[in-house]
Assembly symmetry: C2
Homo-oligomer: 412 residues x 2
């Protein structure tokens, strides 16, 4: 039987009614002849509640215990989904990460998948089971402890299963009906894309578009998994949603295909760092070990032999980053005068494969922001994106202005 | 190091403040030099919420999925408790049932413990861990699926760990400060007992006193585990609570030591059963297989060759019992005219070891109820208890009248 992976996010399983609705979609695919692997998130709000409890209990928490706590929401949904399918006379059972087992490394709270043996689940498919409901976001470490894959990890779980089971497609059901040129709540003129290249999606996901987790897109690109994002609240059709696919499958494309933003980005500056060879490694090594997701990095020469080092990271990781850097300072690994965190910024990015062959995109972006009186604090560029940090209060204005300037409301 | 087992029920870990409070008690015992095994329940209300979801999703649920769902509450508390202890600089980690592993049979929703290997946890104690926080109520089946031990199963988990680790004592922290002659909310004259015999506690627990799960007391009796019930809301002392102990450790005792009641008892009657040899086995075999906890059984001869069979079981199991019996009827194993469930009854029991050597207890009980105008529907007796089913509306009245009649407000 061909295998289909279907992933339902938190809002798609927010309550029993929505779980039933999702189960009906699964039933449609089972009726088509698929063996289905369903990946479920926790009911919306549950994981945040658990994370809140952990943070309140222990701000510098033991990540192994964090994982044991926050993984529980998915187990609940998996069981309830299996029961709902059984009520529809569809043979189904739930699987927790350690039961599959979804093997990860020991990097708790942001573990990486190492292996998904498919024999246990395939044996059940062979016995007549039609749907394996798998708790997303979680796995088991070589030490036998529960790991989690980081926020949004259920997307990664879904794509990894699609790869491990050679699935025909991986459908990601969420609360939006596809990938937009930007967030429609911020810019009402935002337009749904029928197709988007893996590379573009990667930039949009990592920049806070929040529809798909970055790693899930990376994995899909590496294993060439057909990935479709679609709404669980619309009537299903074969052309629904947005297909995330290889660049060569897209005929025409705008220069800029999306404007992304992220509110949860903080700007951290190490002031007057002694500028020795290898200093960057000494700064970013400890941050990496502490699991900090450093994004933009800017280095300015401040004075002879000293430098200011600025980087951005998720706001929620600021405390851990400060701890890691201060400890490195105490060990004498690095030397700086001050560490300043600015959590009142946001990141805005323009993304498009077309940038590769078109010049003047950056200039147009900077002029657009300048015309609106928006001051740019940090700039970073890559082959297919330009990102800036600006004051958070200008976020909506900047997104709308850039969306207009690049005419994203019009298809290529 | 001597090992102490401490179990905290749902109200003792109802929120983060209470978890901290419980953790402080654990800290006191660690300071005395104990290696402590803490067994935690789900935060109060959580398990009921999960059970509600399962029932709403699938009234005739697959018990394997039920277990996967409802066991999640304890995992949350275990992780949070471990984090709280770590914040107090006490080396601690959490263990889920499958990690210990707490091995059970495959009787999902009411699994029996088969083995608790102590090598994993003892290895960690040897490495310096002071507290193992274990998620109560759950285990793992030979098939590698999550099992639960039935409601209140965390008490059983605690006693089983006390036996497996040869613990000095098993302290059960709950929301009451000990075992009372009856429920103080029903009879204000109820008196706290300093000691109670295992046998008496067994009858009280199984009859709905709800302080300790029956199986936990059975286990404690079999392995001679010193079991203490005490409140997590009072200042600790060495004489706090009630000690559940062997009969020979109690010098003086009243004839009746407790009046128990249960609201969650239903009366089921199979009307006009064909009375063949072995019919009782044919009726109660399927009920046992369906996991129904049958309590009282009464058989009346109704007419030649036919009989009425009445039994009581928990109200929540009525649907499953009906299903099991109707299926047995369809298979032709049993034959009855009608199956009537009365869920509007309650059970009242008088319990006391002194009954063994004293006659007239039953007569006094029946006269007391009769004087209050209460009609008795079913009677069942054992060596140390007398139970009756009566209309539920008379429950409080019956408990108070019996408490007065047997002078339970006075110590022996």
């Amino acid at each position: 039987m061909p295998v289909l992976v279907m992933k339902f996010g938190g809002t798609s399983v927010a309550n029993l009614d929505r779980i039933r609705r999702a189960a009906k979609r699964v039933g449609v695919e089972v009726a088509k002849g698929y063996d289905v692997i369903v990946i479920v998130s926790a009911m919306s709000g549950k994981t945040n509640e658990l994370v809140g409890w952990v943070n309140e209990t222990s701000p510098m928490y033991d990540a192994r215990e964090y994982d044991a706590v926050v993984s529980s929401g998915e187990n609940v949904t998996a069981g309830l989904m299996a029961l709902t399918l059984q009520e529809m006379d569809i043979p189904a059972r739930s699987w927790q990460g350690w039961q599959v087992p979804l093997k990860t490394n020991s990097a708790h709270s942001s573990a990486r998948i190492e292996e998904i043996p498919n024999d246990n689940i395939n044996a059940k498919f062979a016995e007549g089971m039609k749907v394996a409901v798998v708790a997303g976001f979680q796995g088991v470490s070589p030490e036998g402890r529960i790991t989690t894959l980081g926020r949004g990890g259920s997307d990664t779980t879904a794509v990894a299963f699609a790869a491990a089971f050679d699935a025909e497609r991986c459908d990601i059901y969420t609360d939006v009906d596809g990938i937009y040129t930007t967030d429609p709540r911020v810019a009402p003129k935002a337009r749904k894309l029928d197709k988007i290249a893996f590379e573009e999606m990667l930039e949009l996901a990592s920049l806070g578009a929040k529809v798909l987790q970055t790693r899930s897109v990376e994995l899909a690109m590496r294993y060439n998994v057909k990935l479709r994002v679609l709404s669980s609240f619309e009537e299903p059709s074969d052309t629904a949603g947005t297909l995330v696919c290889a660049e060569e499958d897209i005929m025409e494309s705008n220069v800029v295909n999306g404007i992304a933003y992220s509110r949860e980005e903080a700007k951290m500056t190490l002031i007057s760092v002694a500028d020795r060879p290898g200093i960057a490694a000494k700064i970013f090594g400890p941050l990496s070990e502490a699991g900090i997701n450093v994004d933009m990095i800017i280095q300015n020469i401040a004075e002879e032999g000293r430098t200011d080092m600025t980087f951005s990271c998720p706001t929620e990781q600021v405390k851990r980053a400060e701890k890691a850097l201060n400890e490195a300072k105490e060990r004498g690994d690095i030397n700086f005068h001050d560490l300043v965190a600015d959590t009142n910024v946001c990141k805005i990015s323009a993304v498009g494969i077309g940038m590769r062959s078109q010049s003047g995109v950056a200039a147009k972006m900077f002029k657009t922001l300048s015309d609106e009186g928006i001051n740019i604090k940090v700039i970073a560029t890559s082959e297919i994106k330009i990102s800036v940090l600006i004051d958070r209060k200008y976020m909506e204005l900047a997104v709308q202005a850039l969306h207009d300037a690049f005419e994203l409301d019009k298809a290529a």
